[in-house]
Symmetry: C2
Subunit: 461 residues, 2 copies
């Protein structure tokens, strides 16, 4: 089981959150005399916050390097043999080795492993349409993407931006460009922005975005990007209209980057992500782990696998993998689907199942939507908040919560996230002993108000 004298070799593919968290945690548990760690990263950076890119583009974060949690040099001082600009091109599962290519020189070589961690992340969805690669069209998945966009913004005279997609990246980029003084149009395929919310809650986001001066175009699929005589983007076209654009942001999501793993015959699920067990081991493979944006996760509420690329999960995966590889024991039990975001001062949060998620897995439910405030109504800064709650019919079990409001709204979703994890019912939630003082909450926290209503509705049916 061991190829390098008295010690094992761990190979890590991918130098971002999952891979390098795994490497770092394994190193904490096992020193270089016990465990050799080799990590391959095809890009220029390690361990950075992709989630922070919109705030860097928008100017809230000053420097690119602020987003880098740990540089290649820092990893190397911890005895991790990190090979930058080196892309793994093949996994030989039977032979327990990977082939890697130096991106610059093209030189290839094989590296054997005792244990392998796959943290290949995600790749942005690029629409297959004319003009999608024209100058002025940008994704925002990597630091290189962010820098390219900032370069374009600095060079470009016009102030019209079109954002394609109205999910987290789309609304965050709308905010970033508003902050930079752009006229922003968001073109969205769905009926309302933030399709991770039910449409009635997405409608609140829609209204708030319009209030911020953002033009929302819903139910509109982009058919092509139009370019000018200089070859640069000049507009975005849908079936019905054209939207002039000096810069275009593609915020239509990502897919798991699993080409390498598929080619090696590793198991991939219905959403395209690698399938792991609770220890984050690739199913059926004793010595291969995977985590981060290239895996599917178990949704504890629906009981089904889901694809949720999110930095916080990637970090947890890495921690769990590193602990197990390092000889400890840890599991990643699954997620409840919590996410939080903002557009300027509008906070948007969700956890658990939407109506359509619940229906899809055979759950019947009651829904309630309530209005409350972030603080006691009489306290300065108390701002309105809408909370929607789904509870299972008969049992009253909490199924999901969505919140749209201003300051103090977003992180309240954590109350529901913990309650979901604990399988609480709405009725049980009504007795939760949450923090109360006038600057922090009404005497009934908005989440409790929703729980009371939901419990009553479950009783009535």
């Amino acid at each position: 089981m061991n190829m390098s004298g008295g010690r094992e070799r761990l190979v890590v593919i991918g130098g971002d959150a999952a891979g390098m968290s795994a490497a770092s945690q394994a190193r904490r548990l096992r020193g270089p005399d016990e465990l050799e760690i080799v990590a391959f990263e095809r890009g220029h950076f390690t361990s950075y916050s992709a989630c922070g890119i919109p705030y860097w583009v928008g100017g809230d974060v000053g420097e690119r390097d602020d987003l880098i949690a740990r540089s290649p040099e820092e990893h190397r001082t911890r005895a991790i043999d990190l090979r930058m600009r080196t892309e793994v091109t093949e996994i030989d599962v039977a032979g327990k080795r990977v082939r890697a290519r130096d991106v610059d020189s093209g030189a290839e070589s094989w590296t054997s492993y005792d244990k392998l961690v796959i943290g290949t992340g995600a790749r942005p969805i690029r629409p297959d349409m004319p003009g999608a690669d024209a100058p002025g069209v940008h994704g925002v998945q990597t630091l290189d993407d962010g820098q390219a966009l900032l370069d374009t913004l600095a060079r470009t005279r016009g102030r019209r931006a079109v954002v394609v997609g109205a999910g987290y990246i789309g609304v965050e980029m709308a905010e970033a460009l508003i902050n930079r003084g752009y006229e922003v149009t968001v073109v969205n395929r769905g009926s309302e922005p933030m399709s991770t919310l039910d449409p009635d809650m997405g409608r609140l986001v829609h209204k708030a975005m319009e209030g911020l001066g953002i033009t929302m175009v819903n139910d509109a699929a982009v058919t092509k990007v139009l370019t000018g005589q200089d070859g640069r983007v000049r507009a975005v076209a849908t079936e019905d209209a054209e939207y002039p654009a000096d810069v275009v942001i593609l915020g239509i999501g990502v897919r798991p980057e699993t080409g390498l793993a598929r080619a090696a015959g590793l198991p991939v699920g219905g959403h395209g992500g690698l399938l792991t067990d609770l220890a984050m081991r690739v199913r059926g493979h004793e010595d291969i782990w995977a985590g981060g944006d290239c895996v599917e996760v178990l949704n504890l509420v629906s009981g089904q696998e889901q694809y949720i690329p999110l930095g916080t999960h990637a970090n947890k995966h890495g921690q769990v993998i590193g602990t197990n590889v390092g000889g400890g024991y840890a599991t990643f039990p699954g997620v409840v689907g919590t996410a939080v975001s903002k557009v300027c001062d509008l906070e948007i949060a969700r956890t658990g199942l939407r109506e359509k998620d619940a229906l899809r897995v055979g759950l019947q439910f009651e829904t309630v939507t309530i209005e409350s405030t972030s603080r006691a109504g009489y306290y300065p800064g108390a701002s309105p908040m809408t909370v929607k709650m789904l509870a299972e019919r008969r049992t009253g079990r909490l199924l999901g919560v969505q919140i749209v409001g201003r300051e103090g709204a977003g992180k309240r979703v954590d109350i529901a996230a913990v309650a979901l994890t604990a399988n609480m019912t709405a009725e049980q939630m009504t007795a939760l002993d949450l923090g109360y003082a006038p600057p922090f909450s009404p005497v009934w926290d908005p989440v409790l108000v929703a729980a009371r209503k939901a419990a009553a509705k479950v009783r009535a049916f």
Copy 2:
């Protein structure tokens, strides 16, 4: 069981949170043809937020009436026979009747009941020392207290205030008076302010209060209030020193107001509060309920009764009582001891057990204290936060969390409050799917950072 023709009579003693919530909820479930409701209140106001008084005094809340959730007239329009300025002086349990006195006229009369709700609240602890009743010395428990204090502040030339006590009321009043431009000295019997925290966390509050220009005097018991020739307060004396004062605030807590109940032979616990069952029925009395600041509550973590006068509990008690009196079913399972407060921009929160609470009930534990930030470290406004966590030895069960920080710190305690209610271990908490985005949290929420450390420490011992 029924004394007034075809309908029952509910008598409520006390017109604030618990009593009037109970009355309102009972009315929602049973109309006036089924249930007559008579409520007695000895003061001038109903259903107001005593917790809001410091913010009214400090000027954050403009008007006294902003703190009143529902006036006597509003209650009366809901067919509640509310008798203001009428004090209940005796409960005749055997005869199922109460004697009440009109405070102004002194006239007394008996009112019979089928069901009785006791919501007599709390009375402030007034130290038995010379000068405690001198003009310029104020409590802040009632709206009348608040108005009297504001009148004193308006009349008084000097700008030196001494606050006696450094619990919630004490620190909130220190903030209020700083906001009004006073020089504030807080005289505290304990070794650090906020004795609801462990002293190491109280120390952080101490430092922050000094940073705000508040003079903290710890380990000091006030022995007398000194008065000038005009009879007004001029200083507060301890054994060691004198602190000049133009106004003095007594913020040394409250005791359950249970004289009436004790005289009637109702059961009172070791902390002086009425003892109820899970339905908030007074133990051993089929037709008498009690809630709010006059009862003890079960602490679900320690397994013992505790006295925690807090508006949010009072409202829940009232809701439960009203539901049961109205023919429904509800329980108040207990509390986990959550509280949140602030001094200017310092947020202070706690839930569960302190070290000494845990020791007192025979629990052994590990503690960890971590530093993190409210947002991703690179995001503007990220501010430091200290989280202390107690987890049971061997089982790793969460026992308590204390948080001191700036914006975004306080309400994070809710994560721990729900986890305590669900009997989670620190290890289980490490996998919690909490809301993450750079403006809301680091990629590992501070509470998760603490949980990781606590879980590791439990494993190690």
